[in-house]
Each structure stands twice: as structure tokens, then as C-alpha cells.
């Protein structure tokens, strides 16, 4: 306590008004952490390591943020397991939060210390993926979806049903991603099943085979999708929501985007605090900083980002930004099914189904 007062006093004497104001505002939380470090574990280039953001955060709190990276979810879990007490904030895909919590790798988050908590979309904020044994283990940060994109010049009204992909009116006019898990997920949704673990795989097989007269081209990346779409290769296609917004806003393509009534594929990432984190107070402050509209708008407009879980942040995007519209529709969001972790066995089965389907396409 003496030490903290000393630091605040020194700052005041030095006349650094801004630092003082910031330190007073979050003083009780952050004071002890001043001139300290915060260790973050995330994918490289995924928002938290933007240089301008780290400068801003350090300027306000005096906390220096240090990054370590992982290349797969498994690597992230391994790093948490083998280096307890090293990391403060860790990014975890919602499909893996429960596993991390059950293994004791992360600790509950105190939502009372997160000012922006109330602005988060309740659908993500209060997700059962994050609330485990009545305790909140992650703060929803960003999300996205894979749904239906369509050419607004060819379709006057947005398609309502996912069956548009099977509609013979669009025979040879459908774009599809060459990805086994995604293909099986869409077929499961279209046959009214759980997208992650469909029970009736024969129905999925049959539904996928029925795509044979429909699909015009496979796409694999945002760039390829834009080229195919601009060349008029398809009228309706599966597509990522963030990419659809970029295609419409940055490339002026006539792209419409809709979540059909049966639903579509959704994913979301949360920010958690590691067990025995050296600096939990600063960790809370950093998470609050990351879900703040100020950080998000700059990240989204200058660098490009997935949708924010914070409704205020999404609404703060510039007027006319398509991402603002498609990610702001709570009713559409409710229809999504959320991606869950798959076992190796399931992945192999889905790949085999998809390869078999493609062989049938080529016959």
C-alpha cells in the first residue's frame, strides 16, 4: 500500500496529469501493477499485439504487454499446462474453454471488474460454453459466421432458406468451399440435424450428393471468392461474414449476406485469465481495453477484424459498413449453431464422406 501511494505521489509530483487520471480511475485495480508486465498468449497478428494498442494501454496503465504465440489450440493448451504461473491473458476459442477450465488451466473472471461487460451481446456473454459450474471463465471477444452470400444484382430479395443451395433455379450457380467439416455442417443444418455431431450421416451423404448439379465452383480463400464472384461464376455461395463485409465495402461487389431460417455456422473466441496469473488485476484491465469500442473500431477499420462481441463496438463502426449490419442482427445470430470441438475420428469420417461425394461429382 505504501508503495502504491508512493508511485501515485511521484506521478502527481512529476505533473503527468494524464497518467494520474488514468491511475486514479482504475487505481485500486491497477496501482500495484504499475510498471509491471502482462503476459498474453494468442495467435500472432490477432489484435492483441497491435503496436499502437499496446502503446496506448501502457500509456494509460503503465503496464507493459508481452506476447507469446501458439499455432494451434493444442499448442495453446500445452503451453498453459507446462508453464503455470507464466501467462495472464489467454485467447481461447469457445469450443475449448470448457476443456481448459476443467483441466484447471484458467480461473474464473470477475465480470465486476470489466466495465464494458454489460455491453456484450448476451448470446455470447452468457453462453454455456463460458459459464461452467456457475462460474464465468471467459469474456466474449470476437465472433463470426459462415452463411449465405448472394449476388444482389441477380437476386432481388434475400434467400430465406438454406435450401437455396439445392434450388434447381440455381443449378450450376452455387459457390461452395472445398472443406469437409464445413460441407458436412451445412448438410446437417439443411437436414435439421446438430451441425457438429449429426446423427444420421446417410442423410448428410445424400444431401451432399444432391449438390452435384448445383455447384459451379469451389472456393478456398477470400481472394479466390472475390475473383470468382466478380467474374460472375455464382449467384449464391457459402461465405464468411467478415469477408462478405470486406467484399462489399472495400471491393464494391454486389454482395448480400443472410443467415437462413434453418441457421448457419457460427464461432466465437473468448479471453480468459490463466490459473495463478502473475497479474490478474492488469489482466482484467487489458480484457476490458480489448472489448472497448475504441480499440475495436481502430482494429476493424485500419487492420481488419472479425465481428466484436460488444454491441456498442459494432454500432460504433462507420456508417455504411456492411459488417455493422450483418453482425448487428441479434435475431439472425440466435439462429446460428456454434462450432464445437471434433474428435479425430469425426474429422476423418467427415473427410471420407466429402471425398466420396467429390468422387461422385466427378463421375
Amino acid at each position: 500500500m505504501i508503495e502504491r501511494r508512493g508511485i501515485v505521489g511521484a506521478a502527481a509530483k512529476a505533473g503527468v496529469g494524464f497518467v494520474l487520471a488514468a491511475a486514479l480511475a482504475i487505481g485500486p485495480m491497477i496501482g500495484a501493477a504499475a510498471a509491471e508486465e502482462l503476459n498474453v498468449l494468442n495467435w500472432q497478428g490477432y489484435g492483441t499485439d497491435e503496436a499502437w494498442a499496446l502503446e496506448l494501454f501502457e500509456e494509460r496503465t503503465g503496464v507493459e504487454v508481452i506476447h507469446d504465440y501458439f499455432n494451434s489450440e493444442q499448442e495453446m493448451l500445452t503451453k498453459l499446462r507446462t508453464s503455470p504461473g507464466t501467462y495472464d491473458v489467454v485467447l481461447i476459442n469457445s469450443a475449448f474453454t470448457e476443456q481448459a477450465a476443467k483441466e484447471g488451466l484458467i480461473q474464473p473472471v470477475d465480470s465486476g471488474k470489466i466495465e464494458n461487460f454489460e455491453d456484450l451481446s448476451p448470446l455470447l456473454r452468457d453462453s454455456p460454453r463460458f459459464i461452467i459450474d456457475d462460474k464465468l471463465y471467459a469474456i466474449a471477444w470476437v465472433w463470426g459466421m459462415t452463411a449465405v452470400a448472394y449476388n444482389t444484382e441477380d437476386l432481388e430479395t434475400a434467400p430465406e432458406s438454406i435450401q437455396v443451395f439445392w434450388d434447381l433455379e440455381f443449378a450450376g450457380r452455387v459457390g461452395w468451399r472445398d472443406d469437409a467439416v464445413e460441407a458436412v455442417s451445412f448438410a446437417a443444418i439443411a437436414t435439421g440435424q446438430d451441425m457438429n455431431h449429426p446423427e444420421d450421416l446417410d442423410k448428410v451423404r445424400e444431401k451432399l450428393r444432391a449438390l452435384k448439379p448445383q455447384i459451379r465452383a469451389f472456393w478456398s480463400s477470400e481472394d479466390e471468392w472475390n475473383k470468382l464472384f466478380a467474374a460472375g461464376q455464382f449467384d449464391v455461395s457459402t461465405y464468411w461474414s467478415g469477408s462478405a463485409a470486406r467484399s462489399a465495402t472495400n471491393f464494391d461487389l454486389p454482395v448480400g449476406y443472410v443467415v437462413p431460417e434453418e441457421g448457419a455456422i457460427g464461432w466465437f473466441d473468448g479471453l480468459s485469465i490463466a490459473t495463478d496469473a502473475p497479474n490478474p488485476e492488469a489482466a482484467h484491465a487489458f480484457i476490458n481495453f480489448l472489448i472497448d469500442p475504441e480499440f475495436y473500431v481502430r482494429w476493424a477499420t485500419e487492420v481488419g477484424a472479425p465481428a466484436s462481441a460488444n454491441r456498442e463496438a459494432n454500432a460504433a463502426l462507420p456508417e455504411g459498413d456492411m459488417g455493422r449490419e450483418i453482425h448487428g442482427d441479434e435475431a439472425a445470430m440466435k439462429r446460428l449453431q456454434w462450432m464445437a470441438p471434433l474428435s479425430d475420428e469425426e474429422r476423418r469420417t467427415y473427410q471420407e464422406i466429402w471425398d466420396e461425394t467429390k468422387a461422385y461429382f466427378a463421375q
Binding site: 455447384i215 467429390k358 466427378a362
Partner: protein, 287 residues
Amino acid sequence: MRIEQRRRFAILGLTAPTYLWLALTIFLPLSVMLYFSFLTVAPIGNREPALTFAQYGAFLDKEFYRFLTWRSVMMGVHVTLGCVLIGYPAALILAHHVPNRWREALFLLIVLPFWSNALVRIFSWTMVLRENGLIDRGLQAIFPDAPSVGILFTYPAIIVGLVHSYLPYMILTCYISLQAIDRSLIEAARSLGASNLAIFRRVLLPLSLPGLLAGMVLVFVPVIGSFMEPRILGGLEGVTLGTVIEDQFTAVFNWPLGAALSFILLAIVLTILAAAYPLLRRNLQPF
């Protein structure tokens, strides 16, 4: 006896580095993959692999793997045929009918595509072959009502891309054996009253067969395992055994199945070459 022994040492000493190099760069990685093909999971991370024949069993079990294998082999046949039909006449003209000073420039044009990245070449083809692509626009500039001839995302598009990629091998091997043919043999045949067709059938073709066969092997073997060209140009018809093998390594982390399918493909290539061995042995001697 001593001389004989020294000779043997010399041969061993001179060839050992080559064999060591082959062992390290080809035999060793292949052996590891062969071992993987008999495992249940790739032994990476904290997985517990066990020995199994299940990967090879999957090939026999699922009819579509055999269909895709057949498709890949037929793709190899079609591409090889295309390369022969274009490459051999091109080499013939180059070797016997083009003045020396033009030859170098033409060779440069043939080899030029090799200097660019294969992926770039294939992507350029998508711009040429697609509906409303370069061919379509060119045609419509002359005949405004011409229908689209875009073949992108069909099987013929794959063949076009692959023939273009592998044609230089065929032209170069054919050219080497064609230009080695003594001109006086052709003149002798002609003076004895042979027609052009007879000269081709009884002089040129037999003497250039080694180059033609070498070119066919050089084209056929890599083509049946190709996956990049079918994936980009083939669209809905772009699935081959090669793309399925690629998926096992990059999409689902199922190395054992990918390895097993690769070895099945290798076995098929070896069987085809073995069946053609008598023909190859007779004709490849001068090489």
C-alpha cells in the same frame, strides 16, 4: 587379383557418396512414410500409434478410392497422349525443318514457361479458359454472337493445364533423339523411293523411339500424382487420388491414410513401368 581388388575399391569409393545421398534424401523419408502407412495415427504429439493394415483396408473397402485411382491413371494417359501429339511433331519440325539461327529462339520459347512458378501458370490458365475469359472475348471480338467456349472447372481444363506444364519434357527428349538421326539415312531412303510416310514409319520413328518413350515416362509418372492443377482448374471435376492424399496431410492430419494411398499409387506406377519394361529395355539402350 590385386588390380581387381583396387578397381573394386575405386568403384565403391566413387559411387558410395551417390548411394549415401540417395539413401538419405529418398530412401530414408520413404521408409518413414511406409512405416506411417501401417499405423493407426501419426506418432506426433502425445498420440499412441498401433500397427494396423486398416489404411490399406480402407482402399479395398471403399469403392470411391478405386474410382479415383482409375481416374488419376486415365488422367496420366490423356495428358501423355496430348504431350505426344503436340510434342513429337514440334520436336520433329524443330530438329529437321527449322534453320539453325531460329532454333535457339524457339527453344527459349519452349523452356520459358519453366522459368515461371507453376502456380502462376495454372492461375493464368483460369483467366484464359473461364467463361468470358480471354478466349471468349477474343472470339466475340470477331464473331459478336459466338457462344461461350469457356471450359474452366471441367476435366478438359485440367488436361490443358497439365499438357502445357509437361510439354517441354516431351519436346526436349524427343528433340535430342531426333536431331541425332543422320540426315543421310533420310536421303538414302528417299533415293530408294520411300514416301514421306514410309520414311517416318521406318526410319524416323524407330530411331527416335528412345526419346519418345523417355518423354512419356517423364510425363506420365508425375501427372498421375498431381493435385494442384486438378484442384485449381477442375472445379467440381477436380478430384483425383492426388487431391485426396493432399487432404489427408493438410486438412485432417491423417498421415497414415495419406501415406498408404501414396504407396498404392507408387505400386501402380511401378506395375505399369514393369509391364512396359521389355519395350523400354529394348529402346532405351542408347540413353
